[in-house]
Amino acid sequence: MSQFKALLIKEYKEAFRDKRAIMVAMTMALLAPLMIFVLSKTMIREAVETPPIYIKFIGAEHAPKLIAHLKKDNILNFADVPEDDKRLWQERDVKITIPDDAQKMMQEGKPVNITLSADYSEKALNSPIRRIKNSVNQFSQTIGYKRILIRGIDVRLLQPIKLIEQDTALPSSNAMFISMMLGLYLLMAAFMSGLSVAIDSSAGERERNVLEILLCQPVSTLKIVLAKLCSASTISIIGVVLTLLLTSFSVQFVDLTKIGATFSLDAYSVAVILLLLIPISFFASALQLFVSFQAKSFKEAQSTVSMIIMLPTMIPVALMFIDDKPPFLDWLPISGQSLLMEDIFKGVPINWLEVFATSGVTIAITGALVMFLAQRLKSEKVVLALS
C-alpha cells in the first residue's frame, strides 16, 4: 500500500507540475462554456427576430395593398434597401412579379398569379422565403374569407377538419442544441483533459529512460499502471467538473425563454452527470495509456492517441442519425452515457438500470485494459523495445 501511495504521489507531482498538460486540460473547460454561450445567443437571435427582407417587385403598382401588407411583416422593397445591405440583397436576388392585369383579375374574383423567384437551395433564404410565403398566403386568405362572408356563407365551412397539435416535449426539450453541445463537450473534456498526462507518463517516461529502471524495482506492474491511471483520470475529472460548472453558470446568461425553452441544471442532475462521466474519465485514460504504452516514441503516441479523441465526437454524432437505436447502445461506453445525458438534459426521469449498466460495462472494459496492460509491461517485447 505504501508503495502504491509513493507511486501515486509521484505521478500527481509530475502531472500537476506539468504546466503544459494542465493548460490543455483547463483550456477545454474554459472554451466549452464560451462556445455554448455564443452559439446559443446566435441561434436565439435567428429564431426570434424578424430582420427586414428586401425584395425586387416587378409591377408593384398593380397591387399596392399587397405591398402594404408585406411591409407590415417587415418585407420591404429593394428600392429602399440601406447602403450596407445592398450588396447582400442584390446577390440574394429575391423577386416578386405581379402581372399587369392583377387589379382586373382581383375585381373579377379570378386568381392572380404572383410569381416568387429565388434560389430555394440557398440556406440563408429559408427563413425569408418562409416569411414571404406566409405573408402572401395570409393576405390571400383574408381576402378569400371576406368574399365568402359577403356571400353569407360561414367561413368555418372551409375548414372541415381542424388539426389540434399537442407537443409532448417537456418545456426544456427545446434547448436541444444546448444539450447536444454540452453532452459532446463533456465527453470531449473527459477524453482531452487527461490526454497529455497519460502520454507523458507512459511514452514520455519511456523516452526519458525512466521506465526501465521503474520496471526493475520490486513493485508490481499492476500498481504502476493503476497509479498512472489514477493520475491521468484525476486531471480528466477536474476538466469535466470545470466544464460542467462553468457551462451551467454561463447558460444562465442566455435568455432561453425567448424561444420558449428552459435549460437548467440542478445540483441533482449535475451529480448524476458526474456519476456517469467519472467512469468515462477512467476509461478514456486507460485507453490512452494502453495505446501510448504500445507506441515506440512520444510522437507516435501523440498521433495515435489523437485518433482516440475522435471517439467521443463521432459516436454521439453517429447516434443522431440512427433512428431505431438498437438496445445495446444504451449500455456501451460513450453511447450509453451520451444517451443518458440527453435524457437528463431533456428532463426525462433517469433510468437507473441503464446508468448502472453502462457504468458497469465501462468499468469492466477499463479493468480489462488495466489488467492487460499490466501483463504487457511484464512481457519481454516491451522490455526489448525499451532501448
Partner: protein, 244 residues
C-alpha cells in the same frame, strides 16, 4: 551474492546467452567485460527479472529471480546504462520515491535519504529539480536512488560512460566504500583501465559464453600479456577460448 548458472537466452536465431555461468561474491567488485553484443545487457536484464532465461537460472542471495522477481529485485540496487531522471521532481523527491518503492517509510526512510545525500556530498543539489542537471549531477542522483535502501547487491551497467574524471572518482570511491562494508558489486564496462583499477575479479564474456575469469593479474598472465586490454583482445579473439 549473485550467482548465474548456465544462463541461455535466444532471440529468434540469435543466441544472446549461451550457457553463461559466473559468481559475484560479497565484499568484492566483479567486473563483466565483453565486446558489444557479447550478451552483457541481456545477462543483466535477466538478473533484474525483466527477461526470462530459456535455460539456467540467476540467483541473488539465494532467491531465484524467475521464481520471485519482486523479492530478488528488493535485494538489488541498480544503476542502469541509460539513467534518466524525473525532471519535474527534485533530487530529494526522486530518492524518496525509490526509497518508498523499496518499502522504506517514516523516520527510517528520512534517515536513509539523509545519509545517502551526505555520503554523496549532494546537499546542494537535493532540493533542486533535476531538469538541467549536469551528467555528473545526474550520476549522483542515480547512484543515490540505487543505494538509498542499502542493497546487499549492487549492479552497474557501464556506469562511467559519459562521466568526467571527477565524477568517475566519486563513483570509484563510493564503490570501494561499499565493498569495504561487505556488499557485492557487479560492474559491466568497456573501459579497461577502469576495470583494472577497480575490480577484484573480472569475467570476460564473448558470444554469450564465459571466455575467462580471474583477477586482472591472472587474466594478463593467462593470456601472456602485460596489459589487460591486450589480454582481453587475445582472450575474446581466440576461437577455442583460453580457458572456460
Amino acid at each position: 551474492m549473485i550467482e548465474v548458472q548456465n544462463l541461455t537466452k535466444s532471440f529468434g536465431d540469435v543466441n544472446a546467452l549461451d550457457g553463461l555461468s559466473f559468481t559475484a561474491k560479497d565484499g568484492e567488485i566483479t567486473g563483466i567485460l565483453g565486446p558489444n553484443g557479447a550478451g552483457k545487457t541481456t545477462c543483466l536484464r535477466t538478473l533484474y527479472g525483466l527477461l526470462k532465461a530459456d535455460a539456467g537460472k540467476a540467483i541473488i542471495d539465494g532467491v531465484n529471480v524467475s521464481d520471485n522477481p519482486l523479492k530478488a529485485r528488493s535485494l538489488l540496487g541498480i544503476f542502469p546504462d541509460k539513467f534518466g531522471l524525473y525532471e519535474r521532481l527534485t533530487a530529494y523527491e526522486q530518492i524518496d520515491y525509490f526509497a518508498s518503492l523499496h518499502g522504506l517509510s517514516g523516520k527510517e526512510k528520512k534517515h536513509a535519504i539523509e545519509e545517502i545525500i551526505t555520503d554523496l556530498d549532494m546537499e546542494e543539489l537535493a532540493y533542486r529539480r533535476t531538469q538541467g542537471f549536469s551528467q555528473g549531477q545526474r550520476m549522483k542522483v542515480t547512484l543515490a536512488q540505487a543505494l538509498v535502501h542499502q542493497p546487499q547487491n549492487f549492479v552497474l551497467d557501464e556506469p562511467t560512460r559519459g562521466l568526467d574524471v571527477m565524477s568517475t572518482r566519486i563513483l570509484r570511491n563510493h564503490l570501494n566504500k561499499f565493498k569495504a562494508k561487505g556488499h557485492c558489486i557487479l560492474f559491466s564496462s568497456h573501459v579497461m583501465q577502469e576495470v583494472a583499477a577497480l575490480c577484484d575479479r573480472v569475467i570476460i564474456v564473448a558470444n554469450g559464453k564465459l571466455a575467462a575469469q580471474g583477477t586482472p593479474q591472472e587474466l594478463c598472465e593467462l593470456a601472456g600479456e602485460a596489459q589487460l586490454e591486450e589480454a582481453f583482445v587475445k582472450i575474446i579473439g581466440s576461437d577455442e577460448g583460453v580457458a572456460a
